[in-house]
Amino acid sequence: MENKSLLNYFSTQVHLYLDNRLNADSEENLLKACDQDNECNKLFQQEKTFRDFVKNNVKRPCVSTDVLKHIKDKCC
């Protein structure tokens, strides 16, 4: 997969696949391309790794008990 525009097209397809935006036919074509082309497969895995890394490493601070109590006092 040396053509840059093909690479960009494939990159777009990977993004859309991981966002659940591809129809069944496009999904099948993408997965077939991954099976047949190492570069495609590598790109797919890199994008997936990137998404997982971001999702798993983002800071998720907890709500303080004071805030929880305040909300419950006002709303419940």
Binding site: T12, T49, V58
Partner: protein, 184 residues
């Protein structure tokens, strides 16, 4: 309390301030409680709460700043001018890059993105909202959600790549055989 942790994460990354994020979460539940009659039963409650929080943050932001900073404005204008551009440029990242990171840099990198781009990343990649839900939460067309996401992810990759390079990781692809990482 439904979705409170997710709301806190969203609020924290919008404001990058824990105490203010708590205030935003509290304000969100107060507003939801006050305007519960506006909520259509059976529709997505999480998306509704996120929209309330996003609006509360934007309203506060507008009150506090008379105008957006020059850098953000330029970024958004440039972005909107190229909104209809077909797809993302391919942005490569080596898997090894992630091995050198602790996690804090993800938070720092996300928080350094312009607000419009940060918002879609948080809603899609962190909270798992669909394009349709994001479109309703941020009041932009689905095509705009899609292009913002592509752009935001590439910006995030650039930032993480720069961070890795500062930490001693170098990408030698295309320059030299091997392309192994090198510690400084």
């Amino acid at each position: 309390m439904p979705h409170i942790d997710a709301l806190k994460t969203f609020a924290f990354h919008l404001s990058y301030n824990e105490s203010y994020a708590d205030d935003l979460v509290q304000e969100t539940y107060m507003k939801a409680y006050r305007f519960i009659d506006k909520y259509d039963a059976g529709t997505n409650a999480k998306a509704w709460l996120f929209k309330i929080l996003k609006n509360a943050y934007i309203n506060d932001y507008r009150k506090k700043s008379k105008r957006p900073t020059q850098v953000d404005y330029e970024e958004i204008v440039t972005y909107h001018n190229s909104e209809s551009a077909a797809g993302p440029a391919y942005m490569d990242l080596r898997q090894e890059l992630f091995d050198n990171m602790m996690g804090d840099e993800v938070t720092i990198a996300i928080n350094s993105l312009p607000i419009d781009f940060r918002t879609v990343i948080l809603l899609c990649d962190i909270e798992g909202f669909t394009y349709e839900e994001i479109s309703k939460i941020v009041d932009v067309p689905i095509g705009t959600v899609r292009s913002r996401l592509f752009r935001a992810r590439n910006m995030l990759k650039e930032k993480l790549k720069s961070y890795a390079q500062k930490r001693g990781y170098h990408d030698y692809r295309g320059k030299k055989k091997g392309g192994q990482k090198e510690e400084e």
